[in-house]
């Protein structure tokens, strides 16, 4: 782990073209500005974590088996509008 001390207005540069700048330092939080290439995903960690967990819950490792798929689909019982 690299540890930096940064003051308001200072930044770190990661790789090619990713900049993380301290915009404001408060008592309970630090406001960061991230400049990254448009194709680089940047997310709050907790949002990313929530979606990872939702995906893991929903992932079915056995759906290559048609009989298994049929069993899962039989549990849907959904009447859609």
């Amino acid at each position: 782990v690299l540890v930096f001390t940064r003051r308001r207005g200072e930044a770190v540069i990661i790789g090619d073209g990713i900049e993380v700048r301290v915009l404001r330092v408060g008592r309970d939080g630090v406001r960061l500005g991230v400049v990254a290439p448009v194709t680089t995903p940047v997310h709050r960690q907790e949002v990313h974590q929530q979606i990872c967990e939702a995906n893991r819950r929903a992932a079915d490792p056995a759906a290559a088996d048609p009989a298994h798929r049929a069993a899962v689909e039989a549990r849907l019982k959904v009447r859609l509008p």
């Binding site: 995903p41 992932a59 798929r69 849907l76």
Partner: protein, 151 residues
């Protein structure tokens, strides 16, 4: 070496007995970043479930993982989701490009069916690139209840 001799006999679809050949126009969708939690899964196929209008999104590379999905607008006709420039760039799409939207469906142990409307999967059929959108601020729930068993 003739060109035909370099064609591999084993396509990724061979890993999916019962799926391969079920639909002739099936093609592989590339997810350059994988899916959150499934970063090693970069290639998927989409095929229609027997239970319409659901669709399966099945990994053909990396750990076996399939997701039951449905177009979120089938569940919620008013569903609206604005893709930002970063999402469009990742998909190789432009504003107004026709896109395939899929919400991941979960059948819970007690039979409750939910759909993840917060982080939909979006596929650009022109580039065959897909991406799961993770909005910073979203009104739609991660666990939208589609069906609750009554008994």
């Amino acid at each position: 070496m003739t060109p035909t001799s370099v064609v591999s006999d084993t396509s990724p679809l061979d890993r999916l007995p019962g799926v391969a050949g079920a639909q002739t126009d099936r093609e592989i969708v590339t997810f350059p970043h994988g899916l959150p939690g499934f970063e090693a899964c970069k290639s998927f196929v989409v095929f229609t479930a027997d239970a319409a209008p659901f669709q399966w999104l099945t990994s053909v590379e990396g750990p076996p993982a399939s997701f039951l999905t449905v177009d979120p607008r089938v569940l919620l006709p008013s569903y609206r989701f604005a893709l930002g420039p970063a999402d469009l760039a990742r998909l190789g799409a432009e504003e107004g490009s026709p896109l395939l939207w899929l919400a991941i469906v979960l059948v819970e142990a007690n039979g409750t069916v939910t759909a993840n409307l917060r982080a939909p999967i979006v596929i650009n059929p022109t580039t065959m690139v897909g991406h799961q959108v993770m909005p910073q601020d979203c009104l739609y729930p991660l666990r939208h209840v589609v069906y609750t068993p009554t008994e």
